[in-house]
């Protein structure tokens, strides 16, 4: 085995280019015991296995069934050792160290035993090492070498060498002939992923790994890759490795899908990416992954990528390829011309949560400094802007309170309006691990999401509320807590504003907030609300996790404040296992908000009207900044239609597909004189664009992402930028062409500026991140190593502020014409508008958006499963395929928006959150009927009304 150093020099690495594997998990004990291994004495945490203690001491003990992401199993008999004073040869993986223990790992006796065991394994294993896809990265091969096996004495007998290979999964294959039945894949599926899709079928010689169904693809396997990661042979192997060969180098980087922000080693050979392997040192994922991050990266090299700038005079013209100079000069000249004719406020920009902090920072800087206005908004507007409003108002800052690890300390977990197993799968695995270990679970969601009931998981309470009644239900829960004496009076007295608390208490105790009244509004039985409230309040550590089912409502901000009230009232803030935790939809939603891309605030959530803050930026940027907020995205659209807003720079965001009421968005875009799109692909928005600037994929970017737990992670360039430029360079060049001097030598210099001007980022730099891996803000003089848990002694705003949260029903209601309520969401294998995942083999699982409809609603309309149906709202109509199910309650239908041809946002409405204008994607009154034709249609309101 070769010992090399990892990029950060913190850990030895062995076997190929993978991370070190100490065989069993690290002990959490602070108590140290003295153990002698092969004559050397070592201090080791109590509870550590002999195998791990030896490995950490540099004495590797052979192993096959052990890996340090799984609990010890003790089946392979390769790790046998001798212990002074004990009989026999115990397995070192299952034997913990004890004070004074003397262990010998390399005696003649254990060597003989290991060699014998190894010989048995090899007697039923193909001897094709030289042509095997795992050659050079095979633990079985390594162990054969370590044990000194030179021959197999057994003749050809009964064996598994002709066992079939299951290639059904698009990303990996299962070659049963190479399986040694070590159980690592089965245990990884259980312990790491928590899906329990795999099992060992049969007994004795007939034992074999089985995915349960016909094959992997038809089984419950979610393709997270944990089994592939755990496999010590080539049995479970990435097809990319089989096709391209073993990688030779790694670059550590961060996934660009959801807000979990998993760390990966991009493994390459030369400049070719072979596979993405989750890193055990990744703070967010600790070695786990999902089907998107692990496998769905092929879009980065998809033939649809546009890598040269393009322009056209009119959106009806053909695109023509131009040079960077021409594109940038045209963009700058046209923006300036628009401003000269229509005023400084007539242009703006939209930043994207898919981009790095550095890219986002320069986009908002370009708008504020070069455009000379505050018309910068971000796609977080349409997802988590209510989180910003609600948590800033109550706690003082716009961020989740915990780190992901915190959930391991929760006794009661409340999941509201989130579907973690589909949208945040790696965090969901952590959560499920805790639930399987005994934590109670309350799910508040109209749909019966997987967490309500799945393998070894059953929610204690599922509150299937009517869409649009979140606030009523959270108020009712708070009402029970207030009226049944469950308030943590001591916490409230010490930590919260007493005047606001008094107001809130008087409000929440009103009979209108009682479960009995709310039951009629929400459809949730009063007793269920009462019992859930008691469970939350009586938990030692109760935590709330929420998603877009909370924020994308007309009362999204109110609901966020309602949850914050609940946490403060019960003292569930400021320690491990508790808190209010937004599950951010995209990889850098948190960062986009942190970087000052809302029109009313500069980086670090400081309002533009704050003279002292503005002066700091003005000094640094050498420009005068405006003290008033600029336009939000919906304001931009409305003003475009009325002719006041004429040009927009859209950075990595497909507003023409992802924003609600897309017909309105299309009209706004058509009304503008200049639409500049910077993206990887010609998307729906680019149909309205005059300039297309090719962007960089996450594999080409240099910068940072900040995940949902405020963790700032490095994004390192794995390969050269296909367009020839980093996106921040392009933005700087536009600003410069407009007459504002904006230059950075590299992305690290942008982060240096962010740190210089943003108090919560003061201690952050690329050098620091390269050294420690990642850090959670605030990271500054007061917290030099970051802040995993916030509001420990005080709230950021000082005293916690209770806010009254009156329930105001949405104006979007079902009626005789539109009797069903549509709510939208995501599916595991796809991501948002699908621009990335639709260009990967993830389409194997999700070829189209389906409309989930309850069997009673389907029967009433003569609709059967798989039938094309027309879905109509007062805004528009589209065609989807029906999926008849009991997953949604009667009266509610659900769909995803991953495929543009589905046009899900053709029917969503203009209603939005009262405080932030976050669209109300989660409630649209609709009617459904069998489609007359199977061709998708996206009709205007007038056309719909004519039909209806």
């Amino acid at each position: 085995m070769t010992v090399v150093s990892d990029p950060r020099g913190t850990m030895p690495m062995r076997s190929g280019i993978g991370e070190a594997d100490y065989g069993t998990p690290k002990s959490a004990s602070d108590v140290l015991v003295n153990v002698t291994i092969d004559g050397q004495s070592h201090l080791v945490p109590l509870g550590t296995s002999i195998m791990r203690a030896a490995g950490e001491a540099g004495c590797d003990i052979p192993k096959l069934c052990a890996t340090d992401s799984l609990q010890p199993f003790g089946s392979c008999r390769m790790c046998l050792v001798e212990i002074d004073g004990r009989k026999g040869t115990p397995a070192s993986c299952t034997t913990p160290v004890e004070e004074g223990m003397v262990v010998r790992t390399q005696t003649a006796k254990v060597a003989k035993l290991r060699k014998g065991v190894m010989e048995l394994y090899i007697s039923d294993h193909p001897l094709d090492c030289l042509t095997c896809s795992a050659n050079g990265d095979c633990e079985l091969q390594d162990m054969a070498g370590v044990s000194g096996l030179r021959e197999v004495r057994y003749g050809i007998g009964k064996n598994h060498l002709d066992a079939p290979t299951d290639s059904s999964n698009p990303y990996f294959s299962f070659d049963e002939s190479k399986c040694i039945v070590c159980n690592r894949c089965v245990r990884a599926c259980d312990e790491v992923q928590g899906t329990l899709a795999l099992t060992i079928e049969g007994r004795g010689f007939n034992s074999k790994v089985s995915p349960g169904g016909l094959n992997f693809l038809s089984s419950e396997c979610v393709s997270c890759g944990a089994c592939v990661q755990a496999c010590p042979t080539a049995t479970l192997q990435e097809k990319s490795v089989i096709d391209l060969g073993m990688p030779t180098r790694t670059v550590e980087t961060t996934c660009a899908y959801c807000g979990v922000g998993c760390s990966f080693n991009a493994e390459l050979r030369g400049d070719e990416l072979i596979r993405m392997v989750p890193t055990k040192t990744g703070g967010a994922n600790e070695g786990h992954s999902c089907v998107k991050g692990r496998f769905a990266w092929g879009y980065a090299s998809h033939s649809d990528r546009v890598t040269t700038p393009m322009m056209r005079e009119k959106i009806t013209d053909e695109w023509r390829v131009v040079s960077w100079d021409e594109a940038i000069q045209f963009t700058a000249t046209k923006f300036k011309a628009i401003q000269e004719k229509y005023g400084d406020n007539s242009i703006g920009g939209i930043s994207s949560s898919r981009c790095t902090n550095e890219e986002i920072f320069v986009v908002q800087k370009m708008v504020r400094a070069a455009f000379g206005n505050n018309n910068i908004d971000t796609c977080a507007r349409v997802c988590h802007s209510p989180t910003g409003y609600g948590l800033s108002t109550t706690f003082g800052t716009s961020a989740g309170t915990q780190d992901f690890k915190s959930v391991a300390h929760s006794d009661v977990i409340v999941v509201i309006g989130a579907n973690p197993t589909d949208a945040h799968p790696v965090f969901a695995s952590r959560m499920k691990r805790r639930i399987r270990a005994g934590a109670k679970l309350i799910v508040i969601d109209p749909r019966k999401i997987d967490l309500v009931e799945s393998a070894h998981i059953k929610a204690d309470f599922h509150l299937p509320l009517q869409p649009g009644t979140n606030v009523a239900v959270i108020n009712a829960i708070a009402h029970v807590i207030a009226t049944e004496g469950l308030i943590d009076e001591e916490f409230v007295a010490q930590r919260c504003d007493p005047g606001q608390f008094k107001r809130w208490r008087a409000f929440i105790e009103l009979p209108e907030n009682s479960p009995e009244v709310v039951a009629a509004q929400s459809g949730v039985p009063a007793q269920l609300i009462r019992e859930a409230a008691r469970m939350y309040a009586n938990g030692t550590n109760s935590a709330i996790y929420y998603g877009l089912g909370v924020t994308e409502h007309s009362q999204g901000s109110t609901m966020v404040m309602g949850m914050a009230n609940l946490a403060m009232a019960t003292g569930n803030i400021g320690r491990e296992g508790v808190g209010i935790n937004p599950l951010r939809g995209q990889n850098n939603v948190q960062g986009a908000c942190d970087m000052g891309s809302f029109p009313h605030e500069l980086s670090g959530y400081r309002h533009v009207s704050d003279n002292a803050v503005r002066e700091q930026f003005e000094m640094l940027w050498d420009v005068k900044l405006l003290p008033d907020p600029g336009m939000r995205i919906p304001n931009m659209f409305d003003n475009a239609i009325s002719g006041e807003f004429r040009g927009v720079f859209v950075h990595g965001e497909d507003i023409a597909q992802s924003d609600p009421n897309v017909k309105h968005v299309h009209r706004a875009l058509e009304s503008m004189d200049l639409v500049v799109v910077q993206d990887l692909f010609l998307n729906e928005t680019s149909k309205f664009a005059h300039v297309f600037l090719p962007g960089t994929s996450f594999l080409e970017k240099d910068g940072t992402f900040t995940n949902a737990e405020r963790r700032i992670n490095r994004v390192r360039p794995v390969m050269a930028a296909r367009n020839g430029k980093q996106e921040w360079q392009i933005v700087c060049e536009i600003a410069q062409a407009m007459g504002y001097e904006m230059h950075y030598d590299n992305a690290a210099a942008i982060m240096d500026e962010i740190a210089q001007i943003t108090p919560t980022f003061k201690g952050v730099s690329f050098a620091m991140l390269d050294q420690v891996g990642s850090v959670q803000w605030p990271c500054n003089d007061a917290a030099p190593t970051g802040t995993p848990i916030m509001h420990i002694d005080n709230f950021v705003r000082g005293q916690g502020q209770f806010m009254e949260t009156p329930f105001v029903p949405t104006e979007e209601r079902s009626n005789r014409k539109f009797p069903l309520l549509l709510t939208t969401g995501r599916i595991l294998s796809q991501y948002n508008v699908g621009a990335q995942t639709r260009r990967t083999q993830n389409t194997t699982w999700h070829t189209q958006d389906l409309l989930e409809i309850h069997e009673a609603d389907a029967a009433m309309r003569g609709i059967v499963d798989g039938q094309k149906i027309a879905i109509t709202s007062r805004i528009g109509e589209t065609i989807l395929t029906a999926h008849v199910t009991q997953r949604v309650p009667a009266g509610v239908v659900h769909t995803t928006f991953h495929h543009p041809q589905s046009g899900a946002n053709v029917i969503t409405t203009e209603f939005s959150d009262w405080a932030t204008n976050c669209p109300e994607y989660k409630v649209t009154a609709v009617e459904i009927r069998p489609a007359e034709s199977s061709a998708p249609a996206t009709n205007t309101l007038d056309e719909v009304l004519t039909k209806v």
């Binding site: 907020p629 304001n635 409305d638 009262w914």
Partner: protein
């Protein structure tokens, strides 16, 4: 920007901020914090031209905005 949109937004904000003696202050703070000057000006014009079409609270909001602007 279409004043009917602004009116709708303001009325929605009013509905969601609990009724107290200082409600008009909270609404005006909200508009100052999140609305562009042009939106505030358009809304101000709309209310002052049609005072009876707006609630007493929104009328007070506009008075407060004017007082702040003149301060």
């Amino acid at each position: 920007m279409d004043v009917t949109i602004l009116t709708r937004m303001a009325e929605q904000i009013e509905l969601n901020i609990p009724v107290h003696e200082d409600t008009y202050l909270r609404i005006s703070e909200h508009l100052v914090k999140f609305w562009t000057p042009q939106m505030r000006a358009d809304f101000y014009q709309q209310v002052t031209a049609n005072r009876k079409d707006f609630s007493a609270t929104l009328n007070k909001v506009v008075d407060e905005l004017r007082a702040k602007a003149n301060a």
